[in-house]
Subunit: 416 residues, 2 copies
């Protein structure tokens, strides 16, 4: 199969790759997206929590800043996307309720709330009774909770469907084949080679293949993104609409469990985190763990119908931060390594990559908050030779000028 | 849809209905089978244990006798069926190992073994160590067990597939429509009426619709079989062949759990027993119960892939015995109410119904063992007017002569 030359080829049709393709196409670039099974990977497994506040952890403030910056873009992103695609994405803003059971749990959650308040995050502390008043299906043994009312959520399967519809309207070419490797000429990327033969030639390649982003042929080792698959098993249940009014989370037996309600009564119950390589088997042990923990959090879950069980692979990175931006290989950009945050971070990622394609100066998309700019936090160059990933000031070294921009609709050079 | 007149129409294409149709067709009768979704009900859910010995209970010796009589027919039934259909049914004879955990469980299992020995059933008592030597995947906490080496098992989905292939060879007509009701003229059944319109006219109707057998229009209330749906949820897992060498069973938290291995590494894990009406939802609680109990029995089950989850409806009866034979309505026979024993009892049921169709004297298909004949144990007439089901001698009242036989290939009377 030979596809006409385009400005950009995006490898991977999950929410990140599709969002990048959409934003690039809206800027006037011609775009091809290649994926053997669009929307079938981590995006199909994902619950869709947009919850940077309730998921904050002590050592990961850069990730929090990224999450908040992307969450701020979600309302407009969802509205534009739904408007263009004619597909609602079930964007909801009722927040996340994080609950504690034992007194140790409660103390830990209280300390986390202190930390959240220190960061000026909008959270409310609730007693056990207030938790149950907010969510009557919660277990009687809930001792207290923290409500992050700014957190939101979305249905990732609808987001994928909407993005595919929007891309179709924009005239983006979708190639349903696996990309085997990069097509490199000299030191410059010229496109990608397809598994069933043929290639897609392009001026820029955006690698957004999630957990598989490290598996392409033809990528120099020092440029190959250091992603690894982190398996997540998830269940979809069906109850009455209103079974839960917002996302609920808790730590049960030391493992995090969450339940995300949809408007149609679907409840997404997730998720395991397993280092199992490229293993997407749904296992008896995975389901057992989810069901055991969900029963503790919301006992009435046992009455719900099981409509789907699924395992996906998140693209994990060594520092839990994504890889977004230019690489040391000319023409290759990364939009991968989003781990548990692909759905949350896709508006930010897409805008950032679109800016990079145009050669715009790297902006601090995170706004006025203190700290390193997004370009530095997420730079794929941070894992390159000579870059110690433990260097807390590494971002300062990475400030750089704009790249030579790509003009939309640039004709294919004769040499290709 | 109008189907040509046949000698017999069988309502229901589960293992029982299909077996009856096969045996009737082999005797030369023209046969039609009607079912909206052949093989998709309880037969699709069933694990396929042929385990009358390990499933014996104190008050149900008639059911034991039926089971043993049908088990004795299984080797020839499986061989003939596989030969005719060209489909192997995975008939296996390595027996069932029933294990106990706590000392109370062990004492109860010891008493059951006493009872089995009193009935001259072939069982061996094993220590915990002997159990684990026989099945190394069993939990270390297993205290002892009873091996019923005469028990067998089969793959019900293969049995269904084989029966459908055999029926096709025999020229049996398969109508994939729901039977809405009986076609009765005067006091005689003349066939069935189909949901999509039209009817199938026949000299005899065999009602083998499992849990739905009590739902047909046009059946006089005193003839309507007293079956109720008993929901069973089941999981199919996949491991290495040899994960288990035989069926294992145990009582965990007061509920029975079993695991049935197939030659290809599939493990069937069953089954819940729920009185929920016509509810075939797979629920979070059902799967949780199965997984919890299976982990106690065989801890390594957590590593296995989950390949299928399913819920079926068993046709339960007031006395846990099936309904097989003539009814008070001329032309209507029952082959239903097999509850958990449909797969085990299908050879016996099919032979018995075929004999009834031919008007042969009711034989004691159970052989020389003491007790009432099969005809009396299973007679649908036992629930009719004036028949107290608690009367221990009721079978004596039901001995009767042969019915007027049906000649194979009888032409349709003009009146029809």
């Amino acid at each position: 199969m030979n596809v006409p030359h385009t400005d950009v080829v995006v490898v991977g049709a999950g929410v990140v790759g599709l969002s990048v393709a959409w934003r690039a196409a809206r800027r006037g670039y011609t775009v091809t997206v290649a994926d053997p099974a669009p929307g079938s990977g981590a995006s199909h497994a994902a619950a869709g929590m947009l919850a940077p506040v309730s998921e904050v952890t002590y050592t990961e403030e850069p990730l929090l800043r990224l999450g908040l910056a992307s969450l701020a873009r979600w309302p407009a992103f969802a509205a534009e996307l739904s408007g263009e695609a004619g597909v609602e994405v079930d964007y909801r803003t009722e927040g996340t309720l994080d609950v504690a059971f034992g007194s140790d749990d409660l103390a830990a959650l209280g300390e986390l709330a202190d930390f959240m308040e220190k960061l000026a995050l909008p959270v409310d502390r609730l007693t056990g009774r207030e938790c149950r008043r907010a969510e009557p299906m919660l277990a009687p043994s809930v001792r207290g909770g923290v409500l992050a009312s700014g957190d939101a959520w979305v249905d990732p399967r609808r987001v994928t469907a909407a993005l595919l519809a929007a891309l179709s309207r924009q005239g983006v070419t979708l190639v349903t084949d696996r990309v085997r490797g990069l097509a490199v000429e000299g030191d410059v990327v010229r496109g990608v080679r397809l598994a069933r033969g043929g290639r897609v030639s392009a001026d820029r390649v955006v690698l957004a293949a999630g957990a598989w982003s490290g598996s392409l042929d033809g990528v120099p080792p020092e440029v190959l993104p250091p992603v690894r698959p982190v398996k997540g098993q998830i269940m979809r249940l069906r109850g009455d609409p209103g079974f839960l009014g917002r996302c609920v989370r808790g730590v049960v037996h030391g493992s995090h469990v969450y339940m995300v309600p949809r408007g149609d009564g679907e409840i997404v119950l997730g998720a395991t985190q397993e280092e199992m390589g490229f293993d997407t088997r749904v296992t008896a042990g995975g389901l057992w763990e989810l069901l055991r923990d969900a029963r503790e959090l919301v006992p009435g879950v046992t009455e719900l119908e099981v409509t789907d069980v699924f395992a996906g692979l998140r693209p994990g990175t060594p520092d839990n931060l994504p890889l977004i931006g230019r690489t040391a290989l000319e023409g290759l950009l990364l939009a991968t390594g989003h781990h548990r945050g692909g759905v949350l971070l896709c508006p930010l990622t897409a805008d950032f990559i679109a800016g990079e394609l145009a050669g715009e100066p790297a902006q601090d998309l995170g706004g006025a908050a203190a700290g390193p700019p997004v370009a530095a936090i997420c730079s794929p160059l941070r894992f390159g030779p000579g870059r110690a990933i433990s260097d807390p000031h590494r971002w300062k070294k990475e400030e750089r000028g704009p790249s030579p921009g790509l003009r939309p609709g640039s004709p294919a050079p004769e040499a290709r």
